[in-house]
């Protein structure tokens, strides 16, 4: 990369007594209840919780797409007043522009900043190299596999050099093999371009493998019920998941998410930023 960021100095998140309600006034539903936590600059935090616990809602508020009903969110001391390229948002799938070639998808953030075409294409090439997709510049997203599409997605948000990356189950739609590969890939990219990451997942292994620290959320209304610094060294590889400490932590998380081995009642997903389209395959031939 042209300007490798060393230790991050920006991207400190401060969430204070946050409550979020969804729905029309009068019949709204509390989705996030009294959540407070901080994320240090350059830290990798995983929010772990069952489906429908309000994780995505919390992330939507961090991105600036949803307005909290009480409490505050500050990034580097400044309150959030809407979406901003410094807070990058990565969804599960199908959020690349199907009508733009891969290189133009990646260069989109710079186009919005008014950067000249030559320059933004050059930077997009650099980032595509970083995520291992050199040679696929002129493909359309539908011509790429799910894992490759998520690499493009990561390159597309990194071009803005965000302070914070907000990832909403980004590998949730991938098969197990590709998912492992993408987790290692994300850690490698993150070691080169250091941002704070808030990563949402309901997969315990994924959270433990990736994070510096995990926050466990309860079913709706979502509260933080546990916080744990993992203390695994970096770089990490596949052998980590069979270590005794990892398994001990996994057992602990399982107990928190399924107390007494029972599955919690399923909650309807609210998806305030829209569901993954059911006919999502219409663009992926």
């Amino acid at each position: 990369m042209s300007s490798p960021a060393s230790a991050a100095t920006l991207g400190h998140i401060d969430i204070d007594h946050l409550h979020i309600h969804l729905g029309e006034p009068g019949q709204s539903l509390e989705v996030v209840h009294n959540v407070s936590f901080t994320v240090a600059a350059g830290e990798f935090v995983c929010l772990l919780g069952p489906s429908g616990c309000g994780k995505s809602t919390l992330l939507g508020a961090l991105a600036g797409h949803l307005v909290p009903s009480h409490g505050s969110i500050r990034v580097d001391g400044l309150p959030i007043s809407g979406p901003h390229p410094e807070r990058a948002l990565v969804f599960q799938q199908h959020t690349l522009f199907p009508w733009k070639r891969v290189v133009d998808n990646v260069a989109f953030g710079l186009k919005m900043k008014g950067v000249a075409r030559d320059q933004r294409q050059r930077q997009a090439h650099d980032l595509l190299n970083l995520v291992g997709l050199e040679g696929f510049e002129n493909h359309y997203p539908a011509q790429l596999s799910g894992g490759m599409q998520q690499r493009v997605e990561i390159a597309r948000v990194l071009i803005n050099y965000p302070r914070v990356m907000l990832m909403d189950e980004p590998f949730g739609a991938l098969d197990a093999q590709t998912r492992l590969m993408m987790q290692e890939h994300l850690l490698e990219v993150w070691s080169r371009i250091r941002t704070s990451i808030v990563f949402i997942t309901h997969d315990i292994d994924e959270a433990l493998f990736l994070a510096d620290r995990i926050l466990v959320m309860s079913p709706r209304p979502g509260r933080i019920i546990d916080e744990r610094r993992l203390g695994f060294g970096r770089p990490r590889d596949g052998s980590l998941v069979t270590s005794a400490r990892f398994i001990e932590l996994k057992r602990h998380c399982l107990e928190l998410l399924h107390p007494g081995g029972k599955h919690p009642a399923y909650l309807e997903r609210l998806s305030p930023l829209g569901k993954v389209p059911a006919n999502a395959s219409s663009f992926s031939v």
Binding site: F91, F97, P98, K100, K111, K113, Y140, V285
Partner: protein, 290 residues
């Protein structure tokens, strides 16, 4: 990046496995293509043959009679005469010009209003109700009023074609805009996309497949309305030609007029489809026939 190799080598192995198989597949496919083409031509010829038998024997079938229907050979002769007459150019020019303006205006207003109504609440609440009231009125029902409203008959005919094409384009555009995924919009906004660039960068291309469908349907209704309008007021135009042939009892020319209208409609639809493919190289419609 090494971690990408599996998917790449997989694609490669598919390629290397196919060459010895592909020529056989290709020649079989082209054979099939010829057979299909012959089959399609056969269907067409059969229709002409049935027409010829019915018309030349002036078959009366009770509720329908072919006593006054010209046979194909007569129609062909009349078509040949028309092709050499200077009037054909005038008829075509008049009709195509009306379609150009009527359809062009409908596309402009239909897409523009559709983008606004589909995306902005104030436009939806303010503009949709009056349009919903006008929508069920068939374009043809506008003919008397439009003759009163426009001093020139040219203006009234263009207006009729405009009304005919407007609603299919408008409704399909609204449908397309409403179908753009909220996640796509959230992603774009998080990448720094402002309110207005959202229209050009996300909403319009996202709605494009639906807009092209609307244009295609609109083109069909546009011709339908034009021909009707020309039958009522006009001195040139292919619809006028068809109706005039009826009034002067030149029955073969009626069929010629009908066939020309059909050919023009088909040609303009093909043009729209071509335009759609050029505009959306990324778009591959799903599904197929068995």
């Amino acid at each position: 990046m090494t971690s990408l190799q599996p998917s790449l080598s997989l694609a490669g192995s598919v390629d290397t496995g196919s060459p010895d198989l592909s020529p056989v597949v290709a020649s079989a496919a082209s054979g099939w293509a010829w057979a299909r083409l012959a089959f399609q031509a056969g269907g067409l010829l059969l229709c002409v043959l049935i027409w010829h038998v019915l018309a030349s024997h002036r078959v009366p079938l009770g509720v329908i009679t072919f006593a006054n229907v010209p046979p194909p050979a007569e129609v062909l002769a009349t078509a040949w005469d028309l092709a050499q007459s200077p009037k054909l150019g005038q008829h075509l020019y008049s009709s195509l010009l009306r379609i150009f303006f009527g359809f062009g205006l409908a596309a402009l207003f239909g897409i523009g209003l559709g983008l606004l109504i589909g995306r902005l609440r104030w436009a939806h609440d303010g503009l949709l109700p009056p349009l919903e009231v006008l929508r069920p009125i068939p374009a043809v029902a506008w003919i008397p009023l439009s003759i009163l409203m426009f001093p020139s008959s040219e203006g009234s005919m263009i207006f009729i074609t405009f009304i005919g094409a407007l609603f299919p384009i408008l409704l399909n555009t609204i449908h397309g805009v409403e179908g753009v995924s909220p996640r796509l919009i959230a992603s774009a906004r998080s990448l720094g996309c402002g309110r207005w660039s959202l229209f050009t960068e996300v909403i319009a291309p996202g709605a494009a497949p639906s807009i092209v469908t609307g244009l295609s349907i609109g083109m069909g209704t546009c011709w339908f309305c034009l021909v009707t309008a020309e039958m009522i007021s006009g001195q040139f135009g292919i619809g006028y030609y068809t109706w005039e042939s009826y009034t002067v009892q030149n029955y073969a020319a009626i069929v010629v007029g009908m066939l020309v209208i059909g050919a023009l409609g088909m040609g303009s639809s093909a043009l729209i489809n071509r335009f759609g493919k050029l505009l959306m190289p990324w778009y591959q419609p799903q599904g197929g026939r068995s």
